[in-house]
């Protein structure tokens, strides 16, 4: 036994086990990479090499005969990461305060609107930054905002975001309390693929890029949800809000808007 060598062609255990494994692997590969792909009538597989590449998961260009549908509107090009624009410097906030003078007409002297424009005081910086970018690129259309952002640099937008994020979230004008949180805010509607509003927008949790909604004007929130539902507004990343708003009933839209509008 001591003279027996394991890794040797003379050892039947070695030859049998390796042969068996190789035969199974090769047979599985032949079936999975050549035979099965070529049975697919809809996969547009040209030859053996094409079948192998397809089954291996190599990206292939779409066939030239097929039209690629392009949206006839701009979508956002902003990429958000969780730790973006945190810890702004005092200089940045100061510059933002100066730049913000031109925003006061609608958004209030300290970022609290009396005109059903969004309250910006205490909003997450990446939310403000992203909207400014989208207004400039045209991903979000607004006759009022578009001329105001055309001459803003990237740094200006970061400064504005830093300034508004720095302002305290003071309660502005609030109508009477809308009562307990509606079902759509706490539970969503799983059967229609609607996550709870609160899972991203505060109440339960906050997710990167989701706006702080509590205390925003209900009319504004309602208008935005309707715009998402109709496709008028289309600057949400990966269509997240459009997919949600489209599934919401008008009653759910107004319930959610009223609830968030009445929160301190």
């Amino acid at each position: 036994m001591s003279t027996e060598r394991l890794f040797s062609v003379r050892n039947a255990w070695f030859t049998t086990s390796v042969t068996t494994v190789v035969v199974i692997a090769v047979a599985a590969a032949l079936a999975g990479f050549i035979w099965l792909p070529r049975l697919q009538t809809n996969a547009r597989i040209a030859g053996v090499w094409d079948a192998i590449c397809s089954a291996a998961g190599v990206l292939r260009p779409a066939p030239a005969t097929e039209q690629i549908v392009q949206a006839n509107y701009r979508t956002t090009s902003v990429v958000l990461a969780p730790r973006m624009l945190r810890n702004a410097s005092a200089e940045s906030i100061g510059r933002g305060a100066t730049l913000a003078l031109r925003c006061t007409m609608c958004h209030g002297a300290r970022g609290l609107s009396q005109a059903n424009s969004p309250n910006l005081a205490g909003q997450y910086p990446i939310v403000i930054y992203k909207q400014l970018q989208d207004f400039r690129s045209g991903a979000r259309a607004s006759a009022v905002m578009a001329p105001l952002v055309t001459d803003l640099s990237d740094q200006d937008m970061q400064d504005l975001a830093a300034y508004y994020a720095y302002l305290p979230r003071l309660p502005g004008y609030h109508p009477a309390s809308a009562g307990p949180a509606p079902r759509i805010v706490v539970s969503g509607a799983p059967m229609r693929n609607i996550a709870p509003c609160g899972a991203c927008h505060g109440g339960l949790d906050n997710k990167t890029g989701s706006a702080w909604l509590e205390g925003q004007p209900a009319i504004y929130l309602q208008a935005q949800l309707r715009a998402f539902a109709s496709g008028m507004r289309h600057n949400d990343i990966s269509e997240q809000m459009r997919n949600i708003a489209r599934q919401m009933t008008p009653a759910e839209i107004s319930a959610a808007a009223l609830y968030y509008g009445s929160q301190p």
């Binding site: 494994v21 590969a29 999975g32 998961g57 509607a189 990167t208």
Partner: protein, 541 residues
């Protein structure tokens, strides 16, 4: 000859304490999601609980059982003291510290990412560091198993390695290689993001690495159970092991075919090509080979026991079996659950059939039936079998043990069969809230409530198990005989070189891993623009 009793007991007690707590969480999760309880209003609590339940049950509990049982086998089968007892305590300490490190951020709501991590979800770094510590602690055990076997072989040249030790070391090697996938994912993908060094992650690649671990880890959990089938059951019921080489071959085959199959968890993932999915499907099917070998050998061994006890005829030996012996009961229940679970698994591993039940409660039902049922019930049997040898005190009440095993079996069936059923109806898994007022899913309310009842039976059974062990710690002292393993019908005097070591099987395991995972990993790593921004859990709090 068990010298390291305190070490082994520490492993088992920590394992079972974690099991007891996680069991309660599991039942709570089912209860609050069911129509029996109003919606708790905040999914966060549910996901915290699932994360702790999964982390404790999947990483900590079976790993500690395998480690403790491994040390028992090393001393009892090799009949010599464990080498490296200090390192063993260090490994235990790492697992214990790692568990606490991982659980604290989850409880604080900073890492509700579930035990499968789900990147681009990213939690608090301490959660992942804790899991890494648990794995590092278990790798110390792997090294010790290997060293102890090596030293024994050096002193006993040419002698066959005792079957229990052969199987034990096979399990440890399987775990060492299995854990590499998740370790790469944690160290090179998730932790850099969690620590704030990078902000994006290639979630598709991370899922491929995790699948490397995710399926073979199940066979690592299974190893103590299979070792118990082969080396405890025949002895405990007064029979003989039908075939020693067949047992060795099963464990060797597990090494080879358990690894290159994890992509069947990614059948719905677009980043892996269909050819590789098919290959993994084929190798998953091959797991039937060692499984059926085991079913045959154990049934034959049990039949030997039945015939030695005077059973006659085609089925007469069944009635002659010692059904009042808890080990007999456990192995029977284990086989029934393995049968149903395995049949369900055939659906999961099939590329086409899987589409129906992928990510539904069917999957939850499947792995609870296999792991929580077939595997864990044998962990109970192992504990009952070695407890007197560890504590020097007798476990007196067979009645309690039988009641515990019966309730576990019934509870697991009542829990998991309705889950399979609602899974076929399309009920998704891992959701915090189901709106049972919706007519589309209202009919699922009854099976869901049945599952909750099954879970309640499991809680009773689990508590009974802990009570039996605690009672055993306070029973009158005895002097147990030497701990023995099963004897084969033909005890091997020599075994083929291939079945006395792992060189051949480990080479095939690594080779097949490279064949089945090499291209998908290299391909995904070389593809530009696949990283997505991480989603930090609990960032808003």
């Amino acid at each position: 000859m068990l010298n390291s009793r305190r070490l082994i007991l520490a492993h088992f007690w920590l394992a079972f304490a974690g099991f007891g707590l996680a069991l309660l969480l599991g039942e709570w999760q089912m209860f609050i999601r069911s129509p029996l309880h109003a919606w708790i209003g905040d999914p966060e609590w549910y996901y915290r609980s699932v994360t702790v339940h999964g982390t404790a049950m999947a990483y900590v509990f079976p790993t500690l059982v395998a480690m403790g049982f491994g040390y028992t086998i090393t001393e009892a089968a090799l009949k010599r003291p464990l080498v490296g007892i200090r390192c063993a305590w260090l490994g235990f300490g790492l697992v214990a510290v790692g568990t606490v490190t991982a659980v604290v951020p989850v409880v604080l709501g900073l890492a509700s990412v579930l035990y499968t991590f789900y990147p681009p979800l990213i939690g608090n770094p301490f959660y992942y560091i804790g899991v890494v510590l648990v794995v590092v602690g278990s790798w110390i055990w792997v090294a010790l198993m290997s060293i102890n076997l090596y030293l024994w072989k050096r002193d006993n040249p040419g002698r066959p390695v005792p079957l229990a030790m052969f199987a034990n070391v096979a399990g440890s090697y399987l775990w060492a290689w299995t854990a590499v996938g998740a370790a790469i994912e944690l160290l090179f993908q998730i932790l850099p993001v969690a620590l704030g060094i990078t902000s994006t992650i290639d979630a598709g690649l991370a899922r491929v690495f995790f699948s490397w671990t995710l399926h073979a880890i199940v066979y690592f959990w299974l190893m103590p159970t299979y070792i118990a089938y082969y080396t405890i059951v025949p002895r405990a019921i007064g029979g003989r092991l039908f075939s020693d080489p067949m047992a060795r071959l099963s464990f060797a085959l597990f090494l080879v075919v358990a690894m290159p199959i994890g992509v069947h968890h990614l059948f719905m993932d677009p980043q892996v090509g269909s050819g590789f999915k098919f290959m993994h499907s084929v190798f998953t099917a091959l797991v039937a080979l060692p499984t059926l070998l085991t079913v045959f050998t154990i049934c034959a061994s049990v039949e030997i026991a039945g015939r030695l006890r005077g059973g006659k005829g085609v089925f007469g030996w069944l009635t002659a079996l010692p059904w009042r012996n808890p080990i007999m009961l456990a192995v029977a229940f284990s086989f029934v659950m393995l049968g149903f679970g395995g049949a369900g698994g055939l659906v999961n591993m099939s590329y086409q059939l899987d589409t129906t039940i992928h990510n539904t409660q069917w999957i939850t039902g499947h792995f609870h039936l296999i792991f929580g049922g077939a595997i864990v019930i044998m962990y109970f049997a192992i504990a009952y079998d070695i407890w007197p040898h560890l504590t020097g005190r007798a476990l007196v009440s067979f009645r309690l043990m039988r009641a515990q095993l019966w309730t576990w079996f019934i509870g697991m069936i009542v829990l998991s069969f309705p889950w399979h059923y609602v899974g076929i109806l399309g009920m998704p898994r891992r959701m915090a809230f189901y709106d049972f007022t919706d007519p589309a899913i209202a009919p699922q309310a009854i099976p869901v409530m049945m599952s909750v009842a099954g879970g309640a039976i499991l809680v009773i059974s689990g508590m009974l198990f802990l009570a039996i062990l605690i009672r055993g710690q306070r029973a009158p002292r005895i002097t147990p005989d030497e701990y023995r393993f099963s004897v084969a019908v033909h005890e091997p005097r020599t075994v083929p070189l291939a079945l006395n070591g792992f060189g051949l099987w480990l080479s095939l395991m690594v080779g097949l891993t490279v064949v089945n995972y090499g291209f998908p990993i290299v391909h995904l790593m070389s593809m530009p623009g696949t990283a997505v921004p991480a989603v930090i859990v609990g960032a808003g709090r």
